[in-house]
């Protein structure tokens, strides 16, 4: 998607990038050159056979196209909506050479996966004969669900333990509403569970309601897919004032239809995806004025260029080089934020000593998410993430981990899905090795 023709979402339910109709899908799919072993496939963390699925769309074989996608990425539907394709597959499309316009891979992917889900009928993948093995998955987000689905395909029985009341992880509670219109997160989970062999137990929090030691004992393997559940604290005076919120809690509330009343001035602190999404969505909810304040420069922002453009197009002002210093309030309610202007000196960020004050009725903090280490029963953590080997196994044998709670690549849905898929294959090898050893002994 390019920003050129975009006005920004006109409301939370306004599908950000609308689906292609059949005519558009045909025209767009015919632009794919059916490259051999192309860069777009390598640029997709899940390695979807992109020319293969686009060729099938053009052949009128939309079910085959969807199966091609889903066999590599069972959340192809969500990824089609939320992947930053401008830094993934589409960035690598050979059509960028000469035409400067890649094939709209993401939109074609949505065309195919939507069509398959709309047809209903049986689940497209079959389960291998039952292995008699049981795997526990902690967390029903993209990584946990992808792992569970693949394990089920491989013939294992899966129990998922999820702290919240609904499945989907950030698909349900975090992604921008206008990217996931029409309750897509829940529809997709239902589709994934259609394979069978997966039971989800809600309201079960590792560290509270269940313990890792017991899980390891009860199951042949455990997969941790708990994401980054804790918001990183702002750590400045005034963070406890009314009207100061974690951006993710704000998004979670609006995604669940409990959007806080938004009016007047909103200041969002942070420069990543979450900050952009919080800023645009508060604009959709009626903020008069939305400012995104980031402590470094535009070039260092985690949000991609397209996301930054989308924020600006939607009316968000992006102010770089502002580090939060103090939150101002009166009568226990927020009134503004004092920032210190920053700059880079020899590559290091420094305060300049100049203060800038922005008035605010709502302050949303989007300065990152962290692991809740306490839940992990002592499993080693490096640089804030669960440590794993090349097989996604943690320091404790039989306990695997993937998704945002490990450092495998970018913190994206598509990477979480790939982690889940790969971990499932590693778990399969791990538990089957056990089986064959048992037999030969």
């Amino acid at each position: 998607m390019t920003a050129a023709a975009h006005n920004g979402p006109q409301g939370l339910d306004d599908d950000l990038v609308p689906p292609l109709n059949a005519l558009q899908a045909m025209a767009e799919s015919s632009r794919c050159l059916y490259c051999y072993d192309p860069a777009c496939v390598n640029a997709c963390p899940t390695g979807i056979d992109i020319p293969g699925f686009i060729h099938r769309i053009n052949d009128g074989n939309v079910v085959g196209a969807a199966k091609t996608i889903l066999s590599a990425n069972i959340m192809g539907g969500t990824c089609a909506r939320v992947c930053p394709t401008e830094i993934l597959c589409e960035q690598a499309c050979v059509r960028n050479a000469g035409e400067q316009r890649p094939v709209s891979i993401g939109r074609l992917q949505r065309f195919a996966t939507d069509a398959l889900m709309a047809r209903g009928g049986g689940h497209p993948f079959a389960r291998a004969p039952g292995s008699g093995k049981r795997v526990a998955v902690v967390g029903a987000g993209p990584s946990g669900l992808a792992c569970a689905h693949r394990l089920s395909m491989l013939g294992h029985a899966v129990n998922i333990f999820e702290a919240k009341a609904k499945p989907g992880g950030l698909n349900e509670y975090g992604l921008a509403a206008y990217k996931m219109t029409g309750d897509f997160a829940q529809r997709e989970v239902a589709f994934i569970l259609g394979i069978g062999g997966i039971d989800i137990h809600y309201g079960k929090r590792l560290g509270d309601d269940l313990q890792l030691g017991a899980l390891s004992g009860d199951y042949d393997a455990v997969f941790l897919a708990i994401g980054l559940a804790a918001g990183r604290p702002l750590g400045v005076e005034g963070s406890d004032l009314a009207g100061v919120m974690e951006a993710l809690s704000f998004i979670e509330a609006l995604r669940q239809g409990r959007a806080p009343a938004v009016a007047g001035r909103v200041v969002v602190i942070g420069g990543g995806n979450t900050a952009v999404d919080a800023a645009i969505q508060s604009h959709c909810l009626g903020a008069e004025d939305v400012v995104m304040a980031y402590r470094r420069g535009i070039a260092q922002m985690g949000a991609t260029t397209w996301e930054q453009q989308l924020a600006r197009i939607s009316g968000v002002a992006i102010k770089p080089w502002l580090a939060p210093k103090r939150i101002l309030g009166s009568g226990g309610k927020v009134t503004g934020v004092v920032f210190e202007r920053t700059r880079l000196v020899d590559g290091r960020l420094q305060g300049t000593g100049t203060d800038v004050e922005l008035s605010a009725d709502l302050v949303l903090s989007a300065v990152g998410q962290e692991l809740r280490e306490g839940e992990l029963a002592g499993i080693p953590v490096t640089e804030g993430r669960i440590g794993i080997d090349a097989d996604y196994q943690t320091a404790r044998p039989g306990v695997f981990a993937g998704g945002d709670c490990v450092k495998s690549g970018l913190d994206l849905t598509v990477q979480a899905v790939e982690d889940g898929k790969r971990a499932a294959l590693a778990i399969d090898r791990f538990i089957r090795k056990g089986v064959s050893h048992g037999r030969s002994a």
């Binding site: 025209a27 015919s30 050159l33 490259c35 051999y36 072993d37 192309p38 053009n58 050979v94």
Partner: protein, 424 residues
């Protein structure tokens, strides 16, 4: 500006672009619009004896590419379904109103002299410029003993041509069907019968597609279908070959040809003219784009002729014909190699996979940082051209003849030919 005037069988037209006998030339309304758009001539939709035929509903089939561009077209229509007198009256009027354009009338009849001569006599009165005998329609009419039922039997082609030739002085074109084993047999028969020219090709027998829900061929008429006539871009190579075969056959070399089949651009037309056609006829391209398609054909041909320094069509007519030879005359010592321009290459990998899987394993992939480099191994490349055809970037893969210094040597002279002695 190049002079595009053309002449065939004594009929002149301001340009070589005629509409072929078909729906675009079915009545005065269409033909007048065609002349307004600039067409040099038309062959009126085939006339027959009264009562007029009745057509079925659901008539056309199509072969489309992935982008819904039409590659091939197929129909099961018959000849004109309007009364003879009405057609003749309109032909008379149109010819009077458009004296500078070519107006040829197509006709078809049973294998009976009186039927053909009767029609010819009435057409003569219209003042039309010439006749085209439709001996080609491969569907419907052939089941009634007309069209290709006549065109597929050289003796009948000769007989009908002879009957018409004896009855009129009008210029006489015989339209040939491609649904034959050897196009030279009907072409020679037409010449023996006294034709002034031949036109080809009429449509190719075909089933356009099968409707997999109805389990019936398309176009489908109440659940059934029948074979129809195939035309459009897909048939052009077949037509070009047949035109060349007639042109390089000594018996028919002097027989003027009106080239038909898949012509949609000035370049298509130039190719037919280069193989010796005196003019061209178009049906499908007009049915797909409307009569305006002649505009780009006229100025495209004229521009190309200017660029090449051709003042008149005769300056390049037949220029490619001498280079159409039998395989046995090709130079076995010629060698050409694929050359890939790394600057134009967009890294799609198509050349590699086709050569690797289906040709001669001559394109290696060499990593060069991010972008792959595709290198042709000259010793392995046989010069088949496959990679250059599948490369999506124009001019990225070109074929470069090797200067190997070897003399011309054809297969009959080649020491590797086990039958050389016998042939020589």
């Amino acid at each position: 500006m190049a002079d595009l005037r053309s002449r065939i069988a004594g009929i002149s037209s301001p340009n070589p672009f005629w509409l072929a006998s078909a729906p675009p030339t079915d009545k005065a309304y269409n033909v007048v619009r065609a002349f307004q758009a600039g067409w040099g001539g038309v062959v009126w939709k085939t006339l027959g004896e009264d009562p007029p035929v009745i057509n079925v509903s659901s008539r056309y089939g199509a072969l489309l590419d992935g982008n819904r561009e039409l590659l091939g077209f197929n129909n099961i229509e018959l000849i004109t379904d309007r009364p003879l007198a009405l057609n003749l009256q309109e032909i008379t009027q149109v010819k009077k109103d458009w004296p500078d354009r070519a107006l040829v009338v197509s006709l078809m009849a049973r294998m009976e002299e009186s039927a053909w001569v009767g029609l010819v006599k009435r057409i003569e009165e219209t003042g039309a410029d010439g006749l085209e005998l439709n001996l080609g329609c491969p569907h419907g009419m052939c089941e009634r003993g007309m069209g290709s039922a006549i065109g597929q039997v050289p003796e009948m082609v000769e007989q009908v041509t002879r009957w018409v030739r004896a009855s009129t002085r009008m210029p006489l074109i015989v339209k040939l069907t491609p649904n034959v084993t050897n196009i030279l047999w009907p072409a020679e028969a037409a010449r023996r019968g006294g034709a002034d020219a031949v036109s080809l090709i009429n449509t190719v027998n075909s089933i356009a597609s099968v409707d997999l829900d109805l389990m019936a061929p398309t176009p489908t008429v109440d659940g059934k279908g029948t074979h129809g006539g195939y035309c459009g871009p897909a048939v052009k190579p077949i037509a070009l070959n047949m035109v060349a075969e007639i042109g390089r056959n000594h018996v028919t070399a002097d027989l003027p040809i009106s080239g038909i089949g898949g012509i949609g651009s000035w370049r298509d037309a130039a190719e037919f003219l280069a193989l010796g056609a005196a003019n061209v006829q178009v049906c499908t391209a007009a049915m797909v784009h409307g009569f305006r398609i002649v505009g780009p054909m006229i100025d495209g041909l004229s521009q190309w002729m200017d660029d090449k320094g051709y003042g008149r069509i005769d300056d390049f007519a037949g220029a490619a014909l001498g280079n159409v030879v039998d395989w046995n005359s090709l130079n076995m010592n010629f060698s050409t190699k694929a050359v890939i321009d790394p600057d134009l290459c967009i890294d799609c990998g198509r050349c590699h996979i086709v050569c690797e899987d289906t040709s001669h394993q001559a394109i290696r992939i060499e990593a060069n940082g991010g972008k792959r480099v595709f290198r042709v191994v000259d010793e392995d490349c046989v010069g088949c051209n496959l990679c250059s055809h599948v490369c999506p970037v124009p001019q990225c893969i070109t074929m470069r003849p090797e200067a190997n210094g070897k003399p011309y040597m054809n297969w009959t002279q080649d020491p590797r030919n086990p039958l050389r002695a016998a042939q020589g």
